[in-house]
């Protein structure tokens, strides 16, 4: 009885030692890296904003979109030199999630898309076939609908995110117009 007890005590002590070594290692690593990771996130958001319209980060004034009932868009900015809008959107589908910023010009035309993170398994088909083609085309709204890449689910997700951002921009534009005159209610771009 004593022998088996000793064996169990020895085994559990060893396991406890190994578990505590691992916990210490992971805890120290977490303490070192967690603030750096947060800073990286903020910086990647800032640099993707700059990639849409250029300028410097102080040109982007944030706009409150939290009172609207939104599926994808999480933040909005106005680019103060020209008055264009930039929206950040986040969405999930069955293959992963996408987080991007899209620029909408103040007269309602669609602007550039810059993807921040894309964890889909098909991301290497999505970006060259869809996003790059969209960014380099002149007629962006038909390029948005031209979903003919090997990653149709991801493209549809981006399509819905950009459409929602577009509607918000038109809505903001509408409230500006409404402030001036009450006649227009059409939804053309």
């Amino acid at each position: 009885m004593n022998e088996t007890l000793k064996k169990y005590v020895k085994v559990s002590l060893t396991l406890g030692l190994i578990a505590s070594i691992s916990a210490v290692l992971i805890g120290v690593a977490n303490a070192i890296t967690a603030p750096v990771i947060k800073q990286n996130e903020v910086q990647s958001e800032a640099s993707s904003l700059l990639a849409v319209y250029g300028g410097s980060s102080s040109d982007y004034v944030s706009y409150d979109v939290s009172d609207l009932n939104l599926d994808y868009v999480t933040k909005g900015w106005t680019f103060s030199p020209t008055g264009d809008y930039v929206f950040k959107a986040y969405g999930k589908n069955g293959y992963g999630d996408i987080s991007l910023v899209v620029g909408i010009e103040k007269d309602g035309d669609l602007g550039k898309i810059v993807i921040i993170t894309d964890t889909e398994t098909y991301k290497n088909k999505l970006e060259p076939n869809y996003v790059d083609a969209y960014n380099s085309s002149d007629d962006k709204s038909s390029a948005l609908d031209d979903v003919k890449c090997g990653a149709t689910y991801g493209a549809k997700l981006i399509q819905s995110m950009v459409t929602e951002a577009h509607e918000i921009a038109l809505g903001l534009k509408k409230t500006e117009l409404l402030a001036i005159d009450f006649t227009e209610e059409s939804e053309n771009e």
Binding site: K7, V11, L15, I18, I21, I32, T33, V36, N40, T119
Partner: protein, 247 residues
């Protein structure tokens, strides 16, 4: 004499991991990351370096604790230690090399179940000294990095036509070496002989299969040369014996 032998053992455990017992091409272990992350040279090189770190650290710790770990709970203990180091690697990579982290994806976590890491722990680190285990870990890591980088270079050059450096390790200024595809400074494609099959999964299988075939052909050739030499020696001895007998 024993000093020389000890040095030879150190050297042997280091060199064997690099070429003779290369974990990827000879022992055929750890093939999942070797096919999945090798779409670009930089990603595969980064994966190799992280693998080197994990294997060395886990070998060291297991060799330090080898007298304490009882035999019944060997495997779970090794798994916990390896998982701790992999989590540590993940966190540091996420913090300091975020592009590498996002291009490796889930395969960084899969280093935990990489057969090589577990294999070296069970076959080598729990029987040998700490110094030998460290050398063995570094040797295996270097061998794996070389092997996986070869696949990465071949796939990237054949698949995209250019060798891009600086895309993931952003402290290096980004430049591309044109091999099969050349785009001049105004953006016009001068020539493009790249085959995009090689950036697809099918291309990974093709490249890996061909490299294994080349190595196997080399081995067969060596065996052939050896057996031919042996036959010559035997024939020489026979003819010498006959001459002696005739005399």
């Amino acid at each position: 004499m024993s000093e020389l032998k000890k040095n030879n053992i150190h050297k042997e455990s280091f060199i064997s991991g690099i070429w003779k017992q290369n974990p990827l091409f000879v022992a055929m272990l750890g093939t999942c990351p070797a096919l999945a992350v090798t779409t670009s040279f930089e990603a595969s090189f980064g994966m190799g370096l992280l693998f080197l770190f994990v294997v060395t650290c886990s070998n060291t710790l297991i060799s330090l604790l080898k007298k304490i770990i009882p035999e019944e709970v060997e495997t779970p203990c090794y798994i916990v230690i390896i998982a701790a180091f992999v989590t540590l690697t993940k966190m540091f990579t996420n913090a300091f090399l975020p592009e590498l982290y996002s291009s490796l994806g889930v395969f960084l976590s899969l280093l935990v179940v990489n057969c090589i890491v577990l294999g070296r722990a069970q076959a080598f680190a729990n029987k040998n000294t700490v110094v030998d285990s460290i050398l063995d870990g570094i040797g295996n890591g270097i061998g794996y990095t070389i092997a996986i980088s070869i696949i990465g270079i071949v796939r990237e050059i054949l698949g995209t036509g250019m060798l891009t450096i600086g895309g993931i390790f952003t402290f290096i200024p980004k430049f591309s070496i044109p091999v099969l595809k050349f785009v001049n400074s105004s953006g016009v494609v001068v020539y493009d002989y790249s085959m995009s099959l090689f950036t697809n999964p099918a291309g990974a299988f093709i490249v890996f299969g061909l490299i294994v075939a080349i190595i196997q052909a080399n081995k067969l050739h060596q065996k052939n040369v050896e057996s031919v030499n042996k036959k010559k020696e035997l024939a020489l001895k026979k003819s010498q014996a006959l001459e002696k007998g005739a005399n």
